[in-house]
Structures are given as C-alpha cells and as structure tokens.
C-alpha cells in the first residue's frame, strides 16, 4: 500500500490551468511531491532525471503528444516502468484503445473529481494510505 505522501508524480499538460487543477486535486488526495511539465520534451527530461512513481499526461500537446510521450517513456531504460495515466476528453474513446496498445496503465476523463482521480490511481498502484 503506497503512501500518498511519498509518491512522486509528474503532471504533463500544455495548459497551466489544467496543470494547476490536477495539482490541487492530487494534493487533496495527499500527494506532496508533484512535478510539472508543459510538453513531452520537458516531461522526458524530468522523467530521465527524477525518480517518478506516476506520470499523468494530457494527449493534445504541441511538439510531442501524450501518446508519443507514452511510447518514449516506455522505451527509456530509466523510465520505462513508470505507471502512466493518460488524460482524455469525453470523445476520445479511440485514443484510449491506442494508448492501451502502447502500454498505458489507465485513463482519466477530463474533468474529473477527486474521487475519480483517486480511484484511477488506486487501480494502478493499489490502495493509497
């Protein structure tokens, strides 16, 4: 049972407002160590340097979209095992299918409540203490 307070999470989204909302929601669950990245490239830099327990990423981003980021992460020796949750919109069903093939751990439909975020994380990491 991982402790929420010890988890190191990376939030990737090109919109600052979404990053901050996700951060606030994570903090409500008890997560304390939250990294942020604006795009896939920044995310990869962080992922290759920092030990991470979870990556939560949007799909639609310039330069490198969420799916490309997922594949890059899965291909990186240091980061390949980090669980990855993809943020999707209401209409992005097909996207989830593709992400599944690429090795995503779970998906999260925007907008999400604190409970749903917790549920999705626990589906991947086990019950949070």
């Amino acid at each position: 049972m991982p402790a929420a307070a010890t988890l190191k999470v990376l939030v990737v989204d090109d919109q600052n407002s979404v990053r901050q909302m996700t951060r606030m929601t994570l903090e409500q669950i008890g997560v304390r160590h939250i990294h942020e990245a604006e795009n896939g490239r920044q995310a990869m830099e962080t992922a290759s340097l920092q030990p991470l327990d979870l990556i939560i990423s949007d799909f639609y981003m310039p330069e490198m979209d969420g799916l490309a980021l997922l594949r890059a992460v899965r291909g990186h020796p240091a980061a390949r095992r980090v669980p990855f949750i993809l943020l999707t919109g209401r209409g992005d069903r097909e996207l989830v299918v593709k992400a599944a093939q690429a090795g995503v751990n779970n998906y999260l439909i925007k907008p999400f409540t604190t409970d749903i975020l917790r549920q999705k994380i626990e589906q991947v990491m086990g019950k949070l203490s």
Partner: protein
C-alpha cells in the same frame, strides 16, 4: 498554492491566447495555405478552451466548444474538406466562442439564443458530411467509457516478477514496413531485444529480396516468423515492439504452453548457431538467394543494407528526440505588469539621478572632476543600456491591437452589406504598451470609416472593374525612430467635391479660397465634419476624423492622408515609440526653462533681425526661404517676463500646426537636446492645456514639457488678431504653479 479564482484567471488568459491562435490559423485555412501544424494548432486551441471550461463548470462554453472542436477534428483528420464557406462559418464560430468566453469571464448569464444559430450551422456541417453524426451532449464527464474493453494495468505487472510462472510459447510474425526504417529503427536490434526475453526461434523470409543491383537501402525486404518461448508477460513482449507498432505488420499469438524439451524446441536454439553455414549470412547480402528460406538464429540475422546505425537497442531512439530537440524560439515567462512598471519607474528615477550627478561633476574643478568624469561615463553608458532593456520589456507587438481588427471588418462588412477583408503586415512590430493602449480607438474609427465611406458596395465595385471584395491593408513598421502605421483601402477615396461643398456650407473655408486636392482631403480632419448623408450607426454621430487626429496628436504623433479618387485612400499614422521617455529640446525663456518635444520641431534658427517683419496685426513675420511665417513669442504665450536678450540673439523654433501650416516660436535660448523622462502631472493638477507633462532636469529643477500644437490653438492662429489676449486657462510658470 493557487486559489480557484487565480486558476480561473489563468484559464481566461489561456483562452485569449487560444483565440489568437485560431484567428491566425483560420485565414490560412481559408486560403488553402494552412499546414497540418496550423490546423492542429487551431484544433488544440479549441480543445483547450473546452477542457478548461469543463473544469471550471462553464457548461454552455463546453457545449459550444465541443461542436466547434468536432468540426475541426473532422477537418484535420481529412474527413471534411475546408471550403471557404465552412471556414467562414468557423470564423463566425470563433466570434461566438469569444463572446461566450467573455460572458463566462464576467459572470454574465449567457442568453440561450446567443450561440444557437452558429451552433446549428456547425451541426449542419457535421450532419451533411457524415450522414447524421450529431454532436455528443453528455451531461457530465463519465468516469469510464461505456463498452470499452480496457483493464487498468497495475504498476507491478510491468515487472517481470508477476508473470504466470511457467513457460509460454508465442507465435511471432514481424514484417517491417518502410516507415520503420525511415524512423531510424533497426529490425536487428528489435529482434535482439526479443531474444533476450527467452528462446527465440525465427526464420527469415527472403522471397521479397531483389537482386543486389536493384536493392534500395531504405526499403525493407525481410520479414521474420517464428516462435518465442518465454516466462515473461505478454506486456513485456509487446514492449519490445512499442516504438514500431504502427510501422510493421506484427502478430503475437500465444500458442499452447510448450512442454520443456518438446520437439518444437529443438530447432533454432542458440546452439544451432554454429550449425548454420556462414554462407547463410553472406548469401542475402550478395543476392545469391536460395529458393528455400534459410533458417537463421536470432544472433546471426542479417540486416541487409538498412538504416543508419542506431546506437544501442531499440530503446534509445526515443531518447534522442527528448534530449536533442533544441527549443525552437525564445522561452517566455509570465510577469505581472505592475512589476514591470515599477522597474520602469525606478529606472526613470535612476536616469534623472544620473543626469543630476553629471551636472554636479561638470561643475567640479578639473582636478577633482577629472577622474569622476570617466567613472560617470561608464555609469551613463550602463544606465542607457539598462533603460533600453527595461523599455523593451514594456514593448508589445502591435498585434495586440491589430488582432481585433479582422473581426471588426467581418462584422462591419456584414452590417453594411459590403464585402471586405483585412490584410495585416508587420503585426509583430513592437512598440511601448503606453502607445498600444491608446491605439485601439483611432484604428477602429479609421477602419470603420474605410468600410462605411471608402469601400463601395459589391455592385458598384463590379461596375468599376474592381474585385467585389474590397481590401483593407493594415501595416506597421519602424521608420526613422518612429512607428508608422498605415491603413489603406482600395475604395472610392475621398469625395473631394462633396468635402469642399460641405466645408463651404459650414463656413470652414471661405467661398473663394483655392485649395489643392491634398488640402481639400485634409479638411476632413476639421471638427464637426461629416459628409455622410445619413449617419450610419457604425460611424457614430459627431465622432469625426478630428477626434482621431486629436488622439494621435495627444500621443505625440502625426496623422496624414492621401487619397486618389476612385482608387482608394491611405491614412498614415506616425507615432513615437514610447510615451515614457522623449527626445526634447530644453529652452529658456526669461528665467524659466521648458522642454519642447523634438517631434514638434521642424527646425531651429537664429534669424537676423532683418528677416523679421513687423506687419500690422501680427507679432512678427519671419521671412524664410521665400515664405512668410507668423511668429509667436513664448514669453507672451506663457506670460513670462523676457530678459534682455536682443532680437538678434533670439531663437526661433519652427513648428507645424495641426493642419500643415507653419509658424515660429520665439525663445531666448536653446539649452540642449536630451532625452527626458516624461512624468505625468495629471494626477496632481489635472489636464492643463498646453502642458504635456513634466520632467526633472539635470540640475534637479522641474521643467514643464510644452504641448506646442495645443498652445498654438489656444492663442488662435498667431496671424489673427493683434494683441491676442492671453487665454485665462494657460499655464503659468513652473515655479508659480508649484508654490
């Protein structure tokens, strides 16, 4: 930690940026010059608005954005062609989106009809395109997609530890496509990775291999089929092909678990390697291909003249992009305006203090001052650089004002039943915020005028042989230390006959005055002038070009007009780059010091007394290169006692009045030309006619900055009545006012 309100603020700022992106991208889409990146950027912008709106609960905005987004998605995936009509609807949708954002931001209730028409138009587009595909209207975001066969993957399942235990056999078929090689992926390394997972027994299919002479290095000809016996999870096998999933034909099917040591496992283990004749390696590369496929083990699989060498296993290519993508373009950051303004103020004070320091040093005896002068030079140099850097922080692209214009043109054209489009050039030209803020109104009015009076109706244009759609060209560029903005149209130009007639009717021009075409055209800048027979509501009542000219002059700029009957009209604005710092000429009148803006000065001279003629009814006329210019004495305008400067020593500053005529201002002495920091006195004293602001000179004294054009107006034209009365409201001397 940000509060919800701050986040909302951030979201609305993001919406502004998103709208800008859309405004930039859609015209390209209309012209057919949009790249995939452009279309994606527009799509992402609408998507971002929708996403954020969902988070903050702006449901109406979400619903509209969703339909908008769906149409854009259809376009970017190629399912819908972006015709001009469709893009025009999208442009309207942008306007509606902008309205909805504005209303959400200000907390207004959104009238239900506001987006109805546009939304219906968008839905029609979708419907026509794909038989009945309506927009989705889920009331709230579901937690999961219905009927989606997705099982969350637990983190620890990624480790090989949690596998079933026991060996499984998988059938593998791997056929790389050209894209795989093009993306610098190497089948050899992929197969090596696969081999690490267990026992791999592959057989290569070479039937597509051409003779060596016909071989193309970037095309794949080989494919592999075989089996993998392994204890690892299916996930881990998939992982090996993650990066190339879309670029190959791949089948991985679990076979029945193979018993150890069964007959299937005998062929192709690592031990078989030595049994393979060396020629099997060489053969494919030389083109001697045996009819039957050769069996090779993974270790000796031959990459035939394929891609550039990729270092390390298949895992590394994804790392290259992340490490090596140079950041294209400048990195930016957000700063609150207040902070910048404070720094600008402080630098202004620093410039003043440094000027005062210079004065003190200047007055020191040489032996003391000598060293200081050198140090001071360095200080001056650095202060100037600091000032330039700080001023550039305040600089904004004129696009901040320009970007509103396309929508304006669209709306006005629609309202007046005319067709017009806007071209913008140089929208990235930078100018200080202080100017940008005050540019909006004049520009809006000029463009309104253009559409209202300039651009003709499509029928009239057709008859005149012009394209039905009028063009308005808005451009900005730096020229000679100023920013020059031009607004030109290909409309009918100024109707000079009508203008002259109206001017005569209103007594603005004497009936028998002979005016040049240019002079007639410039009459429209006179107050109260409007030739519209009916004042259409868009041009407004009583808001004429004179107000525009006043606005521009208040900024220290100039406005001029050129018109060609039937061809069009060009209005040119020349503005200073900033209001905060100004080039000024320090002048002395009696004991008082004033600053005259350099922009107001045409030339300065010290004419001999013989060139000044005292004609009855004037304060003097100066003969200059064949012309007679009226003179005004600053000491009289400001009611200052002139000191004993003789007529010969006095300096005349030639300046323009607003309507192109010139006159000369007489002062006692010119004290030098310098950059002064403009301080506004409006807060303390209100608007004082004739005074544009104040500054602190090097000796610490305050000097007023004169508004020359206003001064000339206040005294009535200097050539008018003799002994012009001093207007009561005119400013007194600096010392009087301050005490």
């Amino acid at each position: 930690m940000a509060s919800l309100d701050q986040l909302k603020q951030t979201f609305f700022e993001e919406c502004s940026e998103a709208l800008q992106q859309i405004e930039i991208g859609l015209p390209d889409l209309r012209d057919g010059t949009a790249s995939d990146d452009t279309i994606n950027a527009v799509f992402r912008s609408v998507h971002s608005v929708k996403g954020g709106a969902g988070i903050f609960g702006f449901e109406d905005l979400v619903k509209f954005a969703h339909v908008f987004e769906t149409v854009l998605d259809a376009i970017r995936s190629g399912r819908l062609a972006a015709t001009q009509e469709i893009v025009d609807t999208l442009l309207q949708a942008t306007d509606v989106l902008s309205d909805l954002i504005g209303m959400s931001r200000s907390g207004q209730a959104i009238p239900p009809d506001h987006d109805r028409e546009c939304r219906a138009a968008l839905e029609r587009i979708l419907h026509d395109n794909s038989g009945g595909e309506g927009s989705e209207h889920e009331p709230a975001a579901p937690a999961d997609f219905e009927d989606l066969d997705f099982t969350p993957v637990r983190a620890d399942q990624l480790d090989s530890g949690e596998s079933d235990g026991g060996e499984r056999e998988y059938q593998i078929v791997f056929r790389p496509k050209a894209e795989l090689l093009r993306k610098a992926n190497e089948p050899l390394y992929i197969l090596r990775e696969l081999g690490k997972l267990g026992t791999l027994d592959l057989h290569v299919e070479v039937d597509r291999l051409p003779p060596l002479a016909d071989l193309e290095a970037d095309r794949p000809y080989l494919s592999w089929t075989g089996t993998l016996r392994t204890v690892v999870t299916r996930q881990q096998i998939d992982e090996v092909f993650e990066f190339v999933r879309d670029d190959c034909e791949l089948e991985i099917t679990a076979a029945v678990a193979a018993a150890d040591g069964g007959p299937e496992s005998s062929a192709g283990g690592p031990q078989a390697e030595t049994a393979v004749p060396p020629s099997a390696e060489i053969l494919p590369s030389v083109g001697f291909v045996p009819a039957a496929a050769a069996t090779t083990s993974v270790e000796s699989a031959v990459p035939v003249a394929t891609s550039p060498v990729v270092n390390g296993p298949a895992a590394s290519p994804p790392r290259a992009p992340s490490a090596k993508i140079a950041s294209a373009g400048a990195t930016t950051t957000r700063i609150e305006l207040e902070k910048i303004d404070r720094v600008v103020n402080m630098v202004g004070e620093l410039v003043i203090a440094q000027a005062m320091l210079g004065q003190v040093v200047h007055n020191l005896p040489d032996d003391v001052g000598g060293q200081l002068v050198q140090v001071l030079d360095a200080v001056v140099h650095h202060t100037r650089e600091l000032k330039d850097s700080v001023m550039s922080m305040r600089a904004q692209q004129v696009n901040a004002v320009f970007q509103r214009m396309p929508r304006l043109v669209r709306e006005l054209a629609a309202k007046t039943g005319k067709k017009a489009h806007l071209e913008m050039i140089g929208e990235n030209t930078e100018v200080d915020r202080s100017i940008i803020e005050r540019l909006g109104d004049p520009l809006t009015h000029i463009i309104r005028n253009s559409i209202d009076h300039g651009i003709e109706s499509p029928e009239v244009r057709a008859v005149a042989g012009k394209p039905e759609e009028g063009t308005i060209r808005l451009s900005a560029e730096h020229r000679g230390g100023r920013i020059v903005i031009e607004i030109s149209d290909d409309g009918a130009g100024v109707n000079s006959e009508r203008v002259l007639k109206k001017a005569r009717e209103r007594g603005l021009v004497s009936p028998d005055a002979a005016l040049s075409e240019d002079e007639i055209n410039n009459l429209i800048f006179l107050p109260g002038f409007s030739t519209a027979e009916t004042v259409s509501d868009i041009s407004g009542r009583g808001v004429g070009m004179d107000v525009v000219r006043r606005n521009i002059q208040d900024l220290g700029g100039r406005i001029s007009l050129k018109s060609e009957r039937g061809r069009g009209m060009t209005i040119q604005l020349a503005l200073p780059l900033t209001l905060a710092v100004m080039d000024g000429m320090v002048v002395r009148v009696g004991q008082e010091t004033y600053v005259v803006p350099m922009s107001a000065i045409v030339e300065c001279l010290r004419p001999p007394a013989s060139d000044v003629h005292n004609l009855l009814g004037t304060r003097g006329m100066l003969r200059l290169r064949g012309n007679l210019l009226p003179l005004a004495h600053l000491c009289e305008l400001l009611d200052i006692r002139s000191t004993g400067t003789t007529a010969d020593e006095r300096v005349v500053i030639i300046t323009d009045t607003g309507d192109g005529a010139r006159f000369g201002i007489v002062v006692d002495e010119l004290c030098g030309h310098r950059q002064v920091v403009v301080k506004s006195i409006e807060e303390s004293y209100g608007a004082v006619p004739g005074i544009a602001g104040a500054t602190i000179l090097g000796d610490g004294r305050v000097a007023f900055i004169l508004d020359i054009e206003k001064l000339s107006e206040l005294t009535a034209a200097p050539s008018a009545v003799a002994g012009a009365a001093r207007p009561a409201g005119l400013a007194r001397t600096a010392s009087e006012t301050l005490n």
